[in-house]
Symmetry: C2
Subunit: 432 residues, 2 copies
């Protein structure tokens, strides 16, 4: 078989990693697929820039069509980012019968179905392992490794930036703003950190995981999202005191045929496998009816880890080329999407409430919960320093989202309540 | 496509799980591969036994040849165990152009190369994901997910029985014999626990992992093995005191082109991801040059978890049947096997020594180490209750196996040394 020709869109952090791995592991790649892999064309923004890796200048171009319309390019690797314009490039590559490997979660979360459909119609592969949890082969784990099982729940730490921030806040008791600045200085957070800290990046990954794990066309707008920017050091201290670790957790849960997908700051018991996933690491915890608990752990980002996932996808494409079976492994979603209603979503909740220090205050508050049949697992009342107020911290047993929202509204209206300071979901106490 | 016909060898714990999953997840299987899956014949030891699951008595047979020679059987699933005789059955099945899925680690560790060769020659698939770490899709993770990377180290907790025993010893300070009995009562350990507690079971799995991860023909006899039966509660207490957790760890390490493979009780720093893997759970930690640290965690045994891996392999076979590419995904080992010599194997070591309580005893001991250029990370000397002796506990920096073996011999010969009570490998302190 002739050499496989690769067209690369983007030569930034991940793109440089891809070039490095293709070069350094050429022997292994050739052994696996029986032919060499060659870089044919590389799209860059500027030709004469200082780069992380040396590439023959003759391969560089600033015109995307020189890559996606090159007759000799077999596989297009997209690591440039972007959404609308990038989608057009990849659609054109697929119509030109080129296979595509992408690390673009934004694109796959928004247009995954459309792109996968185009790939199948053109007999092409479209692989995107690197789009979720960088170097962790979680998509393959779901699609192949757990193929025979019925997956009912996935919980993921799928954003390294927020996990880095929460780990530091928890370890050193530092406030959010200070740790965010540290993360920016270290290059773990971007100058505009919104997509990370407000949970959008994690939401995109959870949409992709839910689509694969539940075999439904889950869209980004199906994901309920809450970020970490409002978490105070008091919240973290209370959760530690109660035996919990605060993490930004993506949850995808199926019961019968209905699902919920969310991303929100969540308290996990300290002994939960995800509670020990620290710093910029990612992990996805998967619960299957037959297999029970499994977890996939590793680096969620970074040049070489992400590039490993990209080039492993490239190996998949090349193996399929050798066998002549490209574009035939994609499976359409099996089920109609059905989202749970608020009364069908159940979770435990943590609340921190400031109340007036009056006789009967606690009774009024607990009354609201018990009217709705919601009981408590833990409750803590403490006087608040330099204040007329007291602080009450509650962990409820399971309650529906509807009941919990109603209770929150009524709490705010209670005369004895000064303010509901914070509420968080609590997960991992045994019930799946 | 017509229904795929499955012949099942064995209807014990795992076999019953396989039947249950094929039945309960029939919709998903049919959606994935486009045709139903049917059980054609089932080999059992006795026809009229009480079983874990109901199976049509007409399908049962006590004659293996009724399964492996059945013209209509497409795939033989082997979950009966055994080695020599079982190998003959599977070779005959492969010669008869039947695909094979097996959960048999003993067989694959001893005759994996021979069976895989027969499969390739006959255009058949031979998959064995369930043979290592039950429900954890680790073999796929190595072969597909990390295909593009160069794996340099694997560390595995791959035996649930010993992990259960060590977890309990560590948690409750109970002695080995007591916990072993508890494990036997709970069904986690067999009446004859030798294969588990002496490390043989783990060694088989490490041989399989090393063969795949390093692409060399690693054999069972290449694995250095030491079990857990000599671990005392003192050893566990000292390791806790020094910030370590005792685990039975399988290590496969590649440096340049030479490898070492071993299974032995090992001290890991408490913060290491494997140190938190408790009870009967398994995990495999993989270090790749590009990806860095990843870990796969899950149930290492049990009826349904293991059956999930078996049926996921069956899905792989069926997808290949649909595409007409069976027997074409196996890759022969890329490298000649080259084992490290004792002077090339480096590790840190823990030693517990009883010495005569004499002036200069410690100096004589430390002298032996420094002559060989081996320095200490930690050292602890304590008087021994009701005795003329003192106890010295040492954690060395990295030393070669050759130097360490020599030092041990010389220690035993020192006049001031009463006895070298125990030695353990120490891993996970950063250096890969």
């Amino acid at each position: 078989m002739n050499a496989i020709q690769v067209g690369l869109l983007g030569l930034g952090t991940v793109g440089s990693g891809v070039v490095k791995i293709i070069r350094e592991h050429q022997d292994k790649l050739q052994h696996l697929v029986g032919c060499p892999v060659e870089l044919k064309k590389v799209l860059v923004r500027e030709k004469d820039k200082q780069r992380l890796i040396d590439v023959d200048p003759a391969l560089l171009t600033t015109d995307p069509y020189e890559v996606i319309r090159d007759q000799e390019v077999d596989v297009v690797i997209e690591v440039m980012g972007g959404i609308e314009q990038t989608k057009e490039y990849l659609l054109e590559a697929l119509h030109g019968k080129k296979h595509v490997v992408t690390a673009n979660k934004d694109l796959m979360a928004l247009y995954g179905s459309e792109l996968l459909g185009a790939a199948t119609r053109n007999g092409c592969d479209l692989f995107y392992e690197a789009s979720v949890a960088g170097g962790i082969p979680i998509l393959r784990g779901l699609v192949d490794g757990l193929a025979s099982d019925r997956i009912t729940k996935m919980m993921g730490i799928v954003n390294g930036t927020t996990n880095f921030i929460l780990t530091k806040m928890s370890k050193y008791g530092s406030p959010y703003s200070e740790v965010l600045k540290e993360a920016q200085d270290l290059g773990y957070a971007e100058a505009d950190p919104t997509a990370d800290v407000e949970g959008l990046d994690a939401a995109r990954k959870m949409a992709i995981l839910a689509r694969l794990g539940f075999s439904m066309n889950v869209d980004l707008q199906d994901v309920q999202v809450k970020g970490i920017s409002a978490i105070s050091d008091e919240d973290i201290n209370y959760s530690k005191r109660l035996g919990y670790t605060m993490k930004l957790i993506g949850i995808a849960h199926r019961q019968q045929n209905s699902i919920e997908v969310s991303v929100e700051p969540t308290l996990l018991p300290d002994h939960h496998p995800l509670a020990a996933v620290n710093d910029e690491y990612n992990a996805v915890y998967v619960y299957g009816e037959a297999v029970g608990e499994t977890m996939f752990y590793g680096p969620g980002a970074g040049s070489l880890p992400t590039a490993t996932a990209v080039v492993s996808d490239l190996v998949g494409v090349m193996k399929n080329m050798r066998l002549g079976v490209n574009g035939r492994s994609a499976v359409a979603p099996q089920y109609e999407k059905q989202m749970k209603r608020p009364e069908e979503i159940h979770a435990q909740h943590f609340l921190r409430i400031h109340v007036k220090d009056q006789v009967g205050a606690l009774a009024k508050i607990t009354g609201l919960f018990s009217e709705r049949g919601v009981s408590f697992e833990k409750i803590l009342q403490l006087p608040l320093k330099n204040s007329e107020l007291a602080e009450i911290v509650i962990v409820t047993h399971h309650a529906s989202q509807r009941d919990f929202t109603d209770i929150q509204l009524q709490l705010e209206n209670l005369e004895v309540v000064s303010k509901v300071k914070s509420t968080y979901r609590v997960e991992g106490n045994g019930e799946v």
